[in-house]
Symmetry: C2
């Protein structure tokens, strides 16, 4: 295609071909920018729909570096590009947003905790642990059970373990060391519920913060999100938003920052950080003036940010997980007929039990009603009500 035929717009490259890239592609279409993805497989969620797909290893230097050279701005669908790779492509002159320096706080929980503590952000008590004696000393302060977390990665498909006693902690510690995984111990927070807040930040320094949402987790997996978090008092909501803003500034985040929080009796404490569009913001597709995907693109392109204002009093998102029946599409008929206001977002994935294959948003006035409807639709789509 000759340059004459290409409108003079920037090309954004997203590393990783998952559903976040898929939904960012939708936003890129409206903005009219060139959007391309680096995907591991043509069957990746974004690769199935995006017109400009580069196939390659989305964690390896050669492919990420070549991809970066083809783009004006590089951003990410996931946090799995190793730091040395990021360093080399930045040294090579690529515009990487968020930068390696920022992203390390989403890649490595030890660095995140260290930095958050330096900044005075409220955190659970925590300690880096390499020997069982350290875990026991920590538990002597906080009590059992103790939460053990992989600083990055994990083993057996997990990165978080709850150890009820020293024997359980020893097993985790040994298996982690066999797998070359560094651990940190965290106190078990007595939380009321889990919250999340997203903020977008541009290189210019502009910020746009979304309302604080409630995330409903089961077995450590997010199932539903209620936006905004019902009954959250204004002081706590403002404090959570200010915390996210302060972290975004201090860590020099460009793009979206999601701060996952525990709500306690006294306030909130930081659980996890993500620097990309995030499951806790999928509700924005149908409940905010600017979706998190458009906002992420605006931020990494250094465009003025869009309004994060809600378009309904409440929006509830429910993740759709695969069940044992792959025939999800034929369930559309009933789920659409039952609730013409439910918005389906599917990721083009082959169904496997427990795999996140889409989500449903329902917007309206009564969060309990919306939660029941979104949960019901997601459950029906999984096949639970057959």
């Amino acid at each position: 295609m000759s340059e004459y035929q290409r409108p003079p717009v920037p090309r954004v490259g997203m590393v990783g071909g998952g559903q976040l890239a898929r939904m960012t592609h939708q936003a890129g279409i409206a903005l009219g920018v060139d959007f391309r993805v680096l995907a591991g497989s043509p069957t990746d969620s974004a690769a199935r729909v995006c017109g400009d797909v580069q196939l390659g290893d989305d964690r390896g230097l050669a492919d990420v570096s070549a991809f970066a050279k083809s783009c004006d701005v590089l951003t990410f669908d996931h946090e799995h590009v190793p730091e040395p790779v990021l360093r080399e492509i930045e040294d090579g002159g690529a515009v990487v947003r968020p930068s390696r320096a920022a992203l390390q706080h989403a890649q490595d929980k030890l660095r995140m905790r260290t930095r958050a503590q330096e900044l005075g952000a409220p955190c659970p008590r925590w300690r880096a642990v390499t020997a069982i004696g350290q875990v026991e000393a920590f538990a002597a302060e906080t009590g059992w059970p103790v939460v053990l977390k992989a600083a990055s990665g994990g083993y057996d498909g997990k990165g978080v373990w709850v150890a009820a006693d020293s024997a359980e902690a020893l097993t985790v510690l040994q298996r982690a060391q066999e797998n070359g995984v560094r651990l940190l111990a965290e106190e078990m927070v007595a939380f009321r519920r889990e919250l999340a807040v997203q903020v977008a930040r541009s290189p210019y320094g502009q910020l746009a913060v979304y309302p604080v949402v409630e995330t409903v987790q089961r077995d450590g997996v997010c199932h539903e999100v209620i936006a905004p978090a019902p009954g959250l008092d204004d002081d706590k909501a403002t404090a959570a938003q200010e915390l996210a803003i302060d972290l975004a500034h201090a860590l020099d985040v460009v793009g979206l920052l999601a701060v996952e929080l525990f709500e306690t009796e006294d306030g909130v404490v930081v659980n996890e950080l993500a620097m990309r569009p995030h499951n806790s913001g999928h509700w924005t597709l149908d409940g905010a003036r600017t979706s998190q995907f458009e906002q992420h693109l605006r931020a990494v392109l250094d465009l003025p940010l869009g309004s994060p204002r809600t378009t309904a009093p409440y929006t509830v998102m429910a993740n759709v997980f695969g069940g044992t029946d792959s025939g999800v599409y034929r369930r559309y008929i009933h789920v659409n007929a039952k609730d013409p206001e439910a918005k389906l977002h599917f990721y083009g994935k082959v169904v496997r039990p427990g795999r996140k294959i889409g989500h449903v948003n329902v917007a309206g006035g009564d969060p309990a009603d919306l939660l029941a409807r979104a949960r019901g639709a997601a459950s029906y789509l999984r096949g639970d009500e057959d």
Copy 2:
């Protein structure tokens, strides 16, 4: 890609690679269906972004027929596939929605007027004309000027002419005959304003009707749309919606039907029909629970239709036309900063003066304010305020 790797979802093929296909692609991503386009060029609006593009002649039998065979359902971005081509692919067993029999009423204004009159739909007085004497006889009843329309196509890039007198009518008639264009004469309607209403209809027979909108035309080109039409009395609005519903039923439309109307002192009269997503429905992307593009896909897939409910009291759409400066992207900075609530939708087109390259939606409470903002953004993006 093996069947195992392809989720069992239908494949919808859209003939034509324009902006309507581009925006339908966005809706198809959320629904998780396979969506492909038949585009004339890789630089077509939809071809720039869609992951599954077939290049070919989107009006010719060979390519449309091969494309139809690769899809479960065939639908259209435009009305330009000739009737004999449609007949042949339907005879070959393709599922064509809307069907050839329905689509002819959007392809041929003589057939549309004939059928609308049979159905008792309110129309301007009209007559098929092949000789100047017929135009003069018609004008003797309606008065001059007379509107002359090409039944299909046109010449010199136009399909509608206003003839002030017999001499002007003769010129149009002669040039039309030289170009093999059939004409009809229509009375010049003394309208207050122009309206449009969209209805979706599924093969099952379900209908979903959008609010009646006001369309603001200049030089025969739609510039803005205000949804719903301000100050339209309920009786007229209901009558217009019922008219659209009746036409959709009677013409056996599957997919979207747009009915363009003149509002007169007494009621409404039918101006034009389109059987596809339509410029008068672009506001639904940011102002309705279900966008027209998703609705069209639902209808042609025979899924239950989505809610056409508005999500704001008013939404105003302004088309963005190209100016003399191709650097539209750098104008994003100012237009986004000025109005963080304005939603941009760009079509990935190279800028040419007068070419429709995108649109802006603004939703809120006060239609005059929204119109000023949408118009201002579109004007600025064109380059008028430099």
